[in-house]
Symmetry: C2
Subunit: 435 residues, 2 copies
């Protein structure tokens, strides 16, 4: 199938669609210079084709009819940028069945329905590019699939939701509370009107599902992943974390431990002197540890029209090279034949922990609490008791050595029933060199 030009159709002319279209229109010459290929934006489908997107689109490109793309024999690559599960899934399946390659930024769809999509791509001998689905413009999928291909991945830690990182950074810098910062973030457009997907860790979990699948060659396993958002974090926790030398970040964590895979999203305390703890504001970073390469990290903007468009176009170029050079799909979905890995339940993980107890300011309280922790083999690394009386109780803060999550949950259940404990205990998992 030798040809020198590749035709692209974009479905969805919103933020990322606009960025992608702009790059294809404005950088056609640069791309041709760099690759020898003519990559032509042939059609853009959207329900709204009249709103001004801030740049000129040549006549004849815009359409409100998605069939003009999916059923168009001229189009080689269909770019799905409408987001959400439906109708995106149907559009993609139809495009794949028509042997069109697909590029998408749709992490929610891939995380939850990706196995079916990749199977269909494989059946139809076409490819799905999804660089833009994780960490926006950072070429992290490429790093994982190609740059680090010689590595068994030992661990990935990601800050991959700009909204949460913005909120936690603001809370840290301004000693502000979650609700206030969220409101400001919404006002500034850094958080959606309904922020659930971001602040409850769902978006992060979608992206982690994809990273974990690539790292360990397992099917996309969104439902087996543990997730916890940032809504319960208080500025008091951030302050205590800082006294212990830590920052609080919403981390996506996947690692191989004892032959099982951990996949979890939760607020995490990370030592102040770790590079990833210094990734602030809306920026994303993904730390990948491989057995050959050691520690690596990738940093950049995780969202936005142009950064995400940059990743979409990189996928378009990769697929175009394949098309022109007559190569078939090189990647059979994400998973390998072998699937020896089990996914660990959150109760089975081991971690260090931060506990903030709301305990009455009475003699013997520390001894009672530490006694219960001891019964569950949870060993204490440090304690802060401030003596500040807040509503009759004082915060008692403890940092543990590595303990089993199951033991922690049981110990806290017992502690929270003590009459001297006035509120549910706050706990945050802690990463870093412990012991």
């Amino acid at each position: 199938m030798k040809k020198d030009s590749v035709k692209v159709g974009i479905i969805g002319f919103g933020t990322v669609g606009s960025g992608t279209a702009r790059i294809l229109l404005e950088k056609g010459g640069l791309l041709k210079e760099r690759t020898g290929l003519n990559i032509v934006l042939h059609k853009i489908a959207d329900l709204d084709i009249t709103r001004d997107r801030g740049f000129k689109v040549p006549d004849g490109i815009l359409t409100t009819n998605v069939s003009d793309i999916i059923e168009n024999d001229d189009i080689d690559i269909v770019v799905e940028l409408i987001g959400g599960i439906n109708p995106a899934k149907g559009f993609i399946l139809k495009a794949l069945q028509r042997r069109k390659h697909v590029v998408t930024a749709n992490k929610a769809l891939l995380a939850t329905e990706g196995n079916e999509l990749f199977q269909s791509a494989s059946d139809n001998k076409v490819d799905i590019g999804f660089e833009a689905s994780v960490a926006g413009g950072i070429p992290i999928i490429k790093a994982l699939r190609e740059g680090l291909i010689a590595n068994s991945i030992t661990a990935i830690y990601g800050i991959i939701n700009g909204t949460c990182n913005y909120i936690l950074t603001k809370m840290t810098d301004e000693k502000a509370e979650f609700a206030d910062v969220l409101k400001e973030a919404q006002r500034l457009g850094y958080a959606e009107a309904d922020p659930t997907f971001d602040i409850e860790g769902i978006d992060t979990a979608h992206k982690l599902t994809i990273l974990s699948s690539l790292a360990y060659g397992i099917p996309l396993s969104f439902n087996e992943l543990y997730k916890e958002g940032i809504t319960k974090i208080t500025s008091q926790d951030i302050e205590f974390a800082s006294e212990f030398g830590y920052k609080i970040k919403l981390l996506a964590i996947t690692k191989l431990s004892e032959g099982e895979i951990e996949m979890r999203v939760h607020p995490t305390m990370i030592p102040n002197n770790y590079l990833i703890s210094k990734v602030d504001g809306v920026f994303n970073a993904v730390y990948i540890e491989g057995d050959s390469v050691g520690a690596t990290m990738y940093y950049g903007k995780g969202a936005g029209d142009m950064p995400t468009g940059s990743a979409v176009v990189a996928d378009i170029v990769d697929i175009s090279k394949m098309l022109v050079h007559g190569k078939v799909s090189e990647y059979k979905g994400n998973q390998t034949e072998r699937q020896p890995y089990k996914i660990k339940k959150i109760e089975d993980i081991e971690s260090m922990y931060y506990f903030r107890f709301s305990a009455m300011d009475k003699p013997g309280v520390l001894s009672k609490i530490s006694g219960i922790l001891g019964n569950y083999n949870i060993s204490i690394a440090s304690v802060i008791q401030k003596g500040r009386r807040i509503g009759g109780s004082v915060p008692l803060v403890i940092l543990t050595h590595t303990a089993k999550e199951r033991d922690v949950l049981n110990a806290l259940r017992e502690i929270d029933e003590l009459p001297v404990v006035s509120e549910k205990t706050m706990f945050i998992r802690v990463e870093g060199k412990g012991e």
Copy 2:
């Protein structure tokens, strides 16, 4: 040329050669699982094939005769890991002429002779992989050539020499002097017995030559690059930098300004709160700014057997995919047809500056010096004068706003001739949001 197995020959069984061989031998199964390809280590040539490298090499692989690789019709990919210009260049050219693909980590060779090598590769329709030549295991070449292909690169700032970064980090953390830290680095194996290539910035310049060529589609232009090492940096400068809120790093800088390319390697003051200023020890980091993607950064180990081997094997895999899928070289050397960019002379750049004057502690000295700076349109941002008398003179430290390098050189020449100035003035270029 459909085939399912690819045969690799490695020339040079030193540090990186050992890492590469180990990965190919130990990860053959993983690579097959991930790509479907059999990548077979067929031969390793070295003058010393008896020394124990710490792992077992199958019988029949080792040879002392490089022709067993270059002239071996079974071998598809020749991996050159002996380093240096000769005989590496001859080996590579011979391999290319025999239509073998080449993978190399040899930055010195590529920076100085690469134009000829890439031309030969292009003439012979084969590829040269060189991911391992810059920043070890970090997939930075791939990020630049593929992941960020949709971007015009506006600037690159790299910490790409682990030895220099280790020395500067130690000098900073321990308030130690250059010569002492260098000795310690040599003792620990972080610096060579003859450290010239590292500490004079030559190695960094080789790597910058490669990055700049990729970023701007220009021929490899090592001789037009400005370089300055770290030997003149004192712990006093590091301390003053810190008082102003800066760290000192050896930076490789390339950027496009006014239609011309800057390519320079020199010690640079970077604001404390920039992520790249926190890259310490032997670690490398490359900050790349693209017009679509914005700021991105890539971090990891820049040297070592396994990290560099990881990059070499990534190239081997990429080329193997091409071979098996019957695709010809996709990259005609590094440069595009268009070459509108001129490389800026160092005298023509603009920067902010740090000056440390060794001035007599006499009335009117500051006025005299600042008068001369004013005559050359160099405007002062801040001044530190400590009043500490060191050998009859006190250090007077000035941070400037953006100025022209030519003006700075002229002003300093004039100032250094003043009778009240006892030593040549130390100056360091300053990056960051100035004005």
